[in-house]
């Protein structure tokens, strides 16, 4: 008790200095947490991926399609439980800046493959029954004020012309990391319209999604699928949904690395600030520490005092930083929602924030504690306070 109260009173001696150090710590830990959350959000698609889903695409490039005739052949492969498909639509809603992902899907099969998109039965039925029906994720619906029954027109970029839809459902994510920004409509509607508008470009598939019955067999099944279409007009590349999602992230890996570096840099800077504060503090107290040693207190006691104070300040700032991370992340997530659909602070991030705070507190105390415990008592007593 005595010891603890001594540490706290020491920490509160220079209120302004301590307050500024704590503030610096808060900002650093907050920034660290937000940047880590940005990185997490980047990988959210891959993290949310099911380990039982395979994505099969054109081996040459994702921009080339696959024939519809592949469907029964993929379905027939041993271990494949269900197959569906989707085409990237890439349309514009009113203005190009209003971006959200849009897919033409084989509705019944696709929804069965993605149980994490939650819809009421009425909405699901409404969507399946309406050829021009569409469903949209909660976040996108909220952003543009879309409601069930609304008409919506998208201007095609890959598929020319204007495309009219009726919102039949708004889906919610089953988990925190489920993407709630997507827009789905019937592939049949796309295909039939294309058949009229650009004859010869119908029956083309962007990606097939296959569900396997046993996740441990997924690599073998992927190889079997690709072997099936070896030397065919369009060779395939099958990979787990996670690998597929990571493929997108890989293009921007440099940015992620840069963000990580910045987050470590922030911690490094606060460490330098904190170490300077602690060194200054210890220097001012040279004669006090020498007095304590003259009275018979050993190096362990001084170490305890100095490490204790440093850790108390760092953890205080760290705790405040962690607490603030949640509301600030919610706000940032709201702003970045279009680009990073899933923006939640993970347990790992909070753990890393605490570890960073602990590390800063610990490292900042090493030098002052060593000096205080080693300084010659007689010289220390002479130091003018």
């Amino acid at each position: 008790m005595f010891f603890l109260s001594l540490i706290i009173r020491n920490a509160l001696r220079h209120r302004l200095r301590t307050a500024l150090t704590v503030l610096g710590m808060v900002v650093a830990v907050l920034a660290f947490g937000l940047l880590a959350t940005v990185v997490d959000a980047w990988y959210a698609g891959a993290d949310a991926a099911s380990d039982k889903r395979l994505v099969t695409r054109n081996a040459t490039s994702l921009v080339f399609p696959l024939p519809l005739t592949y469907y029964p052949r993929i379905r027939a492969i041993d271990g494949v439980q269900a197959v569906s498909w989707a085409n990237w639509f890439g349309g514009v809603y009113k203005e190009p800046k209003n971006f959200f992902p849009q897919f033409a899907i084989e509705a019944r099969g696709y929804l069965a493959l993605y149980p994490e998109f939650l819809l009421s039965d009425a909405e699901r039925e409404g969507f399946l029954r309406d050829r021009r029906g569409a469903i949209v994720g909660r976040k996108t619906a909220e952003l543009y004020g879309l409601r069930v029954g609304d008409n919506i027109t998208l201007r095609g970029t890959i598929y020319p012309g204007n495309w009219d839809f009726v919102i039949r459902g708004i889906y919610h994510g089953a988990r925190k990391n489920t993407d709630e920004t997507q827009f789905f409509f019937h592939w049949d509607y796309l295909n039939e319209t294309i058949k009229i508008r650009i004859p010869g470009r119908e029956n083309r598939i962007g990606v097939y999604i296959a569900e396997v019955s046993d996740a441990s067999e997924i690599a073998r099944i992927a190889r079997d699928i690709d072997a099936q279409f070896k030397n065919a007009s369009a060779e395939t590349l099958s990979e787990t949904e996670k690998a597929f999602q990571l493929g997108f992230v890989a293009m921007t890996e440099a940015i992620v690395v840069a963000i990580r570096l910045v987050s470590y840099l922030v911690i490094f800077i606060i460490m330098a600030v904190m170490a300077n504060t602690m060194a200054m503090t210890a220097r001012e107290r040279t004669s006090e520490y020498a007095t304590l040693r003259a009275l018979g207190f050993g190096p362990a006691f001084l170490h305890g005092l100095i490490y204790g104070e440093s850790l108390a300040i760092a953890l205080c700032g760290g705790l405040l930083g962690v607490v603030l991370t949640f509301p600030v992340a919610a706000w940032v997530g709201h702003i970045l929602g279009k680009f990073l659909p899933v923006f939640t602070v993970s347990i790992e991030t909070v753990q890393m924030q605490f570890i960073a705070a602990l590390l800063v507190g610990f490292l900042a105390a090493i030098w002052p504690a060593r000096t205080a415990a080693r300084v010659n008592i007689v010289n220390g007593l002479r130091a003018v306070a």
């Binding site: 005595f2 001594l6 007095t291 304590l292 009275l295 018979g296 008592i377 007593l381």
Partner: protein
């Protein structure tokens, strides 16, 4: 208060009886400091005996080595050579850790600038050395209260150093020096920072510690009047001690 006094007196007389030899024996002690390329010999084979229960004043010009000698006796500095015995124990041979333990048990410090912990109040400052003992919290409290009462600060227990006058701070420091019932008390210019009146009070208090509680005190001072509160005065000049001069007891 009277109980605490009784205990201390008993303790000291017992220690005195057990040791026929002087309480402090400084024998042929050499101490020098390195200043740049130059080696300054401060104490050149100094020899001094101090008996238990003595109150000795050490005087001498600035730079003569008074503080150096006191620091050696108090175990916060180590001699280059020679013997330093307190109660027969050669403290020059102790490791740093053992020396710290030895100081905690045997030495009470009184500094010129009091050296109280600014974040602790008077009572806590006095209690501080007891943190190195196994005493219970309530026992520590009780002893610290007794010691503060002894120096006349019973009504200032919860005052912080910056709320006390220099003289009061020095009384707190004296209470702190007494609290662990040390073998000897060292005081380096304890009145150096005080006005005459406060200095007089502090000196009377130290005299009382010596005469009533039987405490052995070694005090460095520049002030002849201060020195006259001791039983004997020794002069240090250029690292050599003059002969001892007994102070004639004054009528109060």
């Amino acid at each position: 208060m009277s109980e605490a006094q009784g205990n201390t007196i008993e303790h000291t007389t017992a220690a005195q009886a057990a040791n026929a030899m002087p309480l402090v024996r400084v024998h042929q002690v050499v101490k020098s400091y390195q200043r740049g390329a130059q080696r300054v010999e401060v104490l050149r084979g100094l020899t001094l005996d101090i008996q238990a229960g003595e109150f000795l004043a050490l005087m001498g010009p600035s730079g003569s080595g008074k503080s150096t000698l006191l620091n050696l006796i108090a175990g916060i500095d180590q001699p280059d050579s020679g013997e330093l015995r307190v109660q027969g124990q050669d403290i020059g041979q102790l490791s740093e850790g053992d020396l710290a333990d030895w100081r905690a048990r045997n030495v009470g410090f009184i500094f010129q600038f009091y050296n109280l912990m600014p974040v602790l109040n008077a009572l806590e400052n006095v209690e501080l050395p007891l943190m190195l003992t196994n005493l219970s919290r309530s026992e520590r409290r009780a002893r610290a209260e007794n010691a503060l009462a002894l120096v006349g600060l019973a009504d200032r227990m919860d005052h912080y150093p910056n709320e006390l006058s220099g003289g009061q701070q020095q009384r707190v420091a004296i209470a702190r020096a007494l609290i662990s019932d040390p073998t000897l008390i060292v005081a380096d210019e304890p009145t150096g920072d005080l006005d005459r009146e406060s200095a007089g009070e502090i000196l009377q208090l130290m005299q009382a510690l010596n005469q009533q509680l039987g405490k052995t005190i070694i005090m460095v001072t520049h002030d002849q009047r201060a020195a006259e509160h001791a039983q004997a005065i020794m002069h240090l000049e250029k690292g050599v001690l003059s002969s001892r001069e007994e102070v004639q007891p004054r009528a109060n």
